[in-house]
């Protein structure tokens, strides 16, 4: 099926979960990503159970600190 991830169309296996998508996307820190599906946040504890559907719009938001991060 097709998803729109970060504004880009991606083909993924049917009904993948959010957790599986994070793996497919090779997300570095899957435990610290904020995820929105169709403009709604998905709670981290629901990542493994939340199944995505055809044409879902998924946004992955990462922590970003700054330049000379001391203990970031």
């Amino acid at each position: 099926m097709k998803l729109i991830v970060g504004g880009k169309t991606k083909t993924v296996p049917d009904s993948v979960t959010v957790a599986e998508l994070l793996e497919l996307e090779k997300v570095e820190t899957p435990g610290y990503v904020s995820v929105q599906v169709n403009d709604k946040f998905v709670r981290r504890e629901d990542f493994a159970a939340f199944r995505l559907s055809e044409s879902d719009r998924v946004e992955l938001m990462y922590f970003m600190g700054g330049g000379r991060s001391r203990c970031g």
């Binding site: 504004g7 610290y32 929105q36």
Partner: protein
Amino acid sequence: MRLTPEQVERYSRQIILEEVGLSGQRKLLESSVLIVGVGGLGSPAAFYLAAAGVGQIGLVDFDRVEINNLQRQIIHAAADVTRLKVESAGAKLRALNPDVKVELYPEPLSAANALRIIGGYDFVIDGTDNFAAKFLVNDACCFAGKPFSHAGILRFEGQTTTVLPGRSACYRCIFPERPPDGAVPSCAQAGVLGVLGGTLGVIQATEALKYLLECGELLTDHLLFYSAREMVFHKVKISRSPGCPICGENPSITVLQDEAPAACPAEGAGGDGEA
């Protein structure tokens, strides 16, 4: 206040803008912006806000200039190494525009001083580099009802959002809690292209000017993501989270607190360093 002929000349390129005019320029000269962290993000933001004639600019940073800052913290020069960052930056801003009153706070922003310092300004720019400081800026601005611009940079990417507390989504609506130390990559480990601070810091300054001039549409309820590698901006719609620990329906954070100090054996306790 009346603009002098020299001021009319200095700011002429923006005074001719319909959205600015003489009244907008007066507004800027009577406005104040606090910049927390005078580093990769804060340097360009401070320069442009001073150039635009924001009347008072506060600089918060307890750190001293180091040689590895100069790759991106463009307000500091080689001769400034070992100097307090706020002093180095303050001197540049005064030299650029004597209209600007520069206030220096050579101290870490903390729960003890944040509300007092932030309270004296119209708008806050978060130019900090670490998550303890970023959450503190968010929380202090939420408690003080102070509008602010958040930004972060890493490798070839950056992101930013503008927050009007109580009216638009805050940083904790997106990221409810601070990640444990070392859980997500930092610029010190993962690096950052110096220009990223410029791109994002100048967007932050733009938001401050728009807020002060009351023109345009602010970057509220959106997270703007920038990839320098792909040269793409991507704007994500964000909504206030009812479960937000600070601005949600049942906030769990009711008093301003410092995040637990970060253990950082190499460089001492984490504070409000800068991006």
